[in-house]
């Protein structure tokens, strides 16, 4: 009883605050992470069966060498543009299947977020903040630049 009263008045208790955060984390994990990864796994399955993965891998293989990535990684990069969580899910799936190794995941990590979910954030961020539409392509090019430079740095310097 006394415990209950305390938690009501004392929001300063770090344990209570942790619980609030953990609850937020649970909601995000169940409502965002699980559906997104479930979809990513299903999409990965489709791509795999249809041979799209292999096709894109062969097509972009040479370009991906710069980043120290296998050609298949291009599907992850393209997915990242649509949704960060789908891209991470896809990468996790490919890593579990041996298509991507630890080095590739490390290189891709900044790309998931620097290029992440640009399509969504056009509405949620640029639209809401009223950034003039004229400059949206410029901002998008900045994101691409960021992601590619970050991947190069990861490949050449940090993930050696």
């Amino acid at each position: 009883m006394s415990n209950n009263a305390q938690s009501k008045h004392q929001t300063n208790n770090p344990f209570d605050i942790f619980i609030i955060g953990a609850r937020k984390g649970f909601n995000v994990a169940i409502n965002n992470l699980v559906p997104n990864i479930l979809m990513a796994y299903a999409v990965a399955q489709v791509l795999q069966i249809m041979g799209v993965m292999k096709f894109l891998g062969d097509l972009f293989g040479p370009a991906m060498v710069v980043f120290g990535l296998p050609g298949e990684a291009v599907t992850v990069i393209l997915t990242a543009w649509l949704s960060s969580s789908a891209a991470v899910g896809l990468a996790a799936n490919m890593a579990a299947n041996g298509l991507l190794d630890a080095h590739a995941i490390t290189v891709l990590m900044p790309c998931f977020f620097l290029l992440g979910a640009q399509l969504q954030y056009m509405g949620r961020l640029l639209g809401v903040a009223d950034v003039p539409k004229k400059y949206w392509p410029l901002l998008m090019s900045a994101s691409f630049l960021n992601a590619f430079c970050a991947m190069l740095l990861m490949n050449w310097v940090f993930a050696r």
Binding site: I19, G21, A22, G25, A42, I105, L126, K134, N146
Partner: protein, 231 residues
């Protein structure tokens, strides 16, 4: 009053009348796809294996199997499709809960405010932004939507110019909601990282500035004319 009721009833009757239902060609195609998708027919063509990609049972996939007792987790190995994805995602829930719980506590003790304090002196020289934009930018690290709302408020109150708004937008756009997204979503592949956990985060943070500086330079050169009338 009664007329109104009659009109409403008439409307309902109209709606329920099968002749009024509209189903264009798209709807029929969707129905055909649905029937084929759930029928299990698509896996019956050994010559065209790729058709299996449009079969419900194929995409539902398999749960992983625990092959090495004492080594595999409940996710098992070889999980595929929706089932595999679900179990894998479930295995991430504890780390996400724990990470967000910790961030919440650290935030409570002012970690974010301290970051804002450190960031503010950098804004003017690097991005040409006034110090009062610091809060919106720092907020964006945690929540894209809250950051966007704060940015709009600054612009609506005429505290920042259109150019400053665009530079702010570029800083926020690449890697929006960085800290939370990194720990919530990125945690799925943390176990593969060959570098310290914080390194990609710091790198991305630095690149947010680089991207914004690039946008600022372009705005000052290519789009110079657009901002002539602003002070």
């Amino acid at each position: 009053m009664k007329e109104e009721k009659d009109a409403k009833q008439q409307e309902t009757i109209q709606e329920l009348n099968p002749e009024q239902w509209k189903a264009g060609p798209k709807a029929f195609i969707a129905l055909i796809v649905a029937v084929l998708f759930f029928s299990g027919l698509m896996v019956k063509f050994p010559d065209m294996k790729w058709l299996a990609a449009f079969d419900f049972t194929t995409l539902v996939g398999n749960f992983g199997v625990i092959k090495n007792v004492g080594k595999d987790t409940f996710v098992g190995s070889g999980g595929l499709g929706a089932r595999g994805g679900f179990m894998f995602a479930l295995s991430l829930v504890p780390s996400v809960m724990f990470a967000i719980g910790c961030i919440e506590v650290l935030d409570h003790y002012g970690a974010i405010r301290a970051a804002q304090r450190l960031l503010t002196p950098l804004l003017k020289p690097l991005l040409g932004l006034p110090g009062l934009t610091g809060l919106a930018l720092i907020t964006d690290l945690q929540s894209t939507d809250a950051g966007a709302a704060l940015t709009k408020e600054l612009y609506d109150n005429k505290l920042i110019s259109k150019k400053e708004l665009t530079v702010m937008g570029s800083w926020q756009y690449s890697g929006a909601g960085l800290i939370n997204n990194y720990f919530m979503i990125g945690s799925a592949v943390f176990s593969y990282l060959t570098v310290p956990l914080l390194l990609p985060l710091i790198l991305m943070f630095v690149f947010k500035f680089i991207g914004a500086i690039y946008v600022r330079i372009i705005l000052n050169t290519v789009y110079k004319e657009d901002f002539k009338n602003e002070q």
